[in-house]
């Protein structure tokens, strides 16, 4: 495992702790989806996106928007880590008139590109951005994360057809397939499998990865577009609430209202994960430096 993958895993571990911090402030939130996609969001902001937090509206920046806007805590955490705003602002999460609500507001939070939350909106907005950036002749790319639970919204397939018909290879959609939504298994609630085949049939270049495996995530995102002239769909198989073992892969995690004990338990676990990652990286750096002497 290369050092930069471990560094990204450390960032993801820190971001997971910030999600808990927001949960402590707001008492409840969409934790499951935030933690299933947070490795991907971390990889995007720390490895993939051509952005400058000091110049968040630069016209040539890459764009990222969450179609699954309820996973906003993941984006807030990573934006804070990336330097868009101080981490302690996240302690206002969920409060009256806070910049940080359950769904993102581009007019309140630096780095947010779209006011998502109603499902099935992000892909068409992202396609419009990709189209506009291509018309301008920029090399900017647009990334979006959809949830598997939002795929039954027909507007996704309007967006999918637009992106393919217009050959938007500067558009990369990651579908966070954690196979859970409020009512249970997504495949039981409304089975949209085979997801990869559906996007492929619409004319997209498609690949499937483990969305909680940082190495796979970064390798795949770096290789986009997978095929010139086609939008890229990355079907990311993930675990809902990844990182909090008591909560992982449960529908209950979709919108979690932890008591103090459960929150503390999660905090201990995520802190331990962070410490282990830091230790692993430190060992690796030591080993690497010894090896190079």
């Amino acid at each position: 495992m290369s050092a930069d993958v471990l560094a990204l895993e450390i960032e993801a571990a820190r971001a997971r702790l910030l999600v808990l911090r927001m949960l402590q402030a707001g008492r409840s939130g969409h934790v499951g989806g935030a933690l299933s996609c947070i490795d991907i969001v971390t990889a995007l902001y720390f490895d993939i996106l051509r952005i400058d937090p000091r110049s968040p509206n630069d016209g040539t920046r890459d764009r990222f928007l969450l179609s699954a806007g309820h996973k906003a805590m993941a984006q807030y955490a990573v934006l804070a880590r990336r330097g868009y705003f101080p981490e302690d602002l996240l302690d206002t999460y969920g409060g009256l008139d806070s910049k940080f609500a359950g769904h993102p507001d581009m007019h309140k939070v630096s780095g947010i590109e779209a006011n998502t939350g109603a499902l099935g909106h992000g892909l068409a907005i992202a396609a419009g951005m990709a189209l506009g950036l291509r018309m301008d002749g920029t090399a900017s790319r647009v990334f979006t994360i959809l949830g598997d639970g939002e795929l039954p919204e027909g507007s996704n397939w309007e967006g999918a057809s637009i992106a393919a018909h217009h050959g938007l290879d500067n558009l990369i959609a990651v579908i966070d397939v954690n196979d859970l939504q409020i009512s249970g298994r997504t495949t039981n609630v409304m089975n949209m499998e085979p997801i990869a085949d559906k996007f492929e049939a619409f004319g997209w270049a498609v690949t499937t990865i483990d969305g909680n495996n940082m190495s796979e995530v970064t390798d795949t995102l770096r290789s986009a577009p997978l095929i010139q002239g086609r939008p890229t769909a990355i079907v990311a198989r993930t675990i809902k609430a990844k990182g909090i073992s008591a909560l992982e892969d449960t529908a209950q995690s979709h919108y979690w209202k932890p008591d103090a004990e459960a929150l503390l338990e999660a905090h201990v676990e995520l802190t331990n994960t962070l410490v282990q990652k830091i230790k692993a990286r430190s060992d690796e750096l030591m080993f690497t430096s010894r090896g190079t002497k």
Binding site: E113, A124, I125, G128, M129, A130, S161, I162
Partner: protein, 312 residues
């Protein structure tokens, strides 16, 4: 007080030409089509600016989202199609992706009202003023004649923010000398003291004929044309209502929620009588357009008779 000339003009062609002319000097203007561009008057635009003419096929929700994304990159997207499809079909995208995101997008509903008279209620748009004026920050325009369509199109493209504009389909007469369009300003068509009549959209042509007859009858009514439904020109309405004490609104829209409601909200604390003329709250029947105007008592003879009754 009737039309300036006998000539009848195509509102869609007028609108398309106005946008095309504006786009010649502003490369940010892009036209979005949901299989609707050519019939929205963009034939010339398609030929002159093919790189700025974007076709998406029949899907209004998706196109509204795309318009939002394009606006994020600095474009001025103009999305025109049948009025009900760009207000009802895509309403949540209009609400979230355009209004809530405060995007500089222009959505134009053509064949508004019941102008698609032979096609029936699926193709009518009689609630568009009502639902779109509920979206904070969205301007709602309803120009009354070709000159206003041209001027309103330019004002719409100059305005930085989301706009919905309704135009019709059937040919319409020139009513006014053309002048620059000011969003939010009404037009005093005839000054009077007996009552204030407020009208919007192309039905104003019928209202003007009716008012002309009323004045011949000796009824000195004031007529205000209101090509901006939101934000409504409260100042003009309030000053006129204070003078006449009686306001009558006329629109090709359900009497609920549209111009009537906007005017009512404006004068409700003034102790002024308000009567509303528009479409009844039911599924409207089909026929020829002139037949429907007559059936629902919105043509000049019926308006003359209704207004005479209200002013008795």
């Amino acid at each position: 007080m009737t039309s300036l000339t006998e000539e009848l003009i195509d509102p869609r062609k007028t609108f398309g030409e106005a946008v095309t002319s504006f786009a010649a000097s502003d490369p940010r203007v892009v036209v979005l089509s949901a299989d609707s561009g050519n019939s929205s008057g963009f034939g010339t635009f398609m030929r002159e600016y093919p790189e700025r003419y974007l076709e998406f096929g029949i899907q209004e929700h998706g196109v509204t989202g795309v318009a939002s994304g394009l606006a994020s990159t600095g474009k001025i997207p103009v999305f025109a199609a049948i009025a009900t499809f760009v207000t009802c079909r895509n309403f949540e995208a209009f609400r979230n992706d355009i209004a809530y995101m405060r995007q500089n997008v222009k959505i134009v509903g053509r064949n508004g009202g019941m102008t698609y008279s032979d096609l029936g209620p699926t193709h009518y748009s009689l609630e568009d003023y009502a639902i779109i004026r509920m979206l904070p920050g969205v301007v709602v325009l309803s120009p009354q004649d070709p000159g206003e369509i041209r001027a309103a199109s330019a004002a719409m493209l100059e305005h930085d923010g989301p706009i919905y504009m309704r135009i019709g389909g059937p040919l319409i007469p020139n009513l006014f000398p053309e002048e620059p369009f000011v969003i939010g300003k009404g037009r005093l068509i005839a000054a009077g003291t007996r009552a204030t009549i407020v009208s919007t959209g192309p039905v104003t042509a019928e209202v003007m004929k009716a008012v002309s007859q009323l004045r011949d009858d000796g009824l000195d009514v004031e007529l205000i044309g209101m090509p901006t439904v939101e934000p409504i020109d409260a100042e003009l309405i309030l000053s006129s209502a204070a003078k006449t004490g009686h306001v009558i609104t006329i629109e090709e829209h359900y009497v609920r929620g549209g111009l009537s409601a906007a005017v009512s909200e404006c004068i409700s604390s003034q102790g002024v009588r308000h009567d509303s003329i528009g479409l009844p709250h039911q599924h409207i029947t089909t026929g020829t357009y002139s037949g429907l105007l007559s059936h629902y008592r919105l043509d000049a003879p019926a308006l003359h008779s209704r207004l005479s009754e209200l002013l008795r």
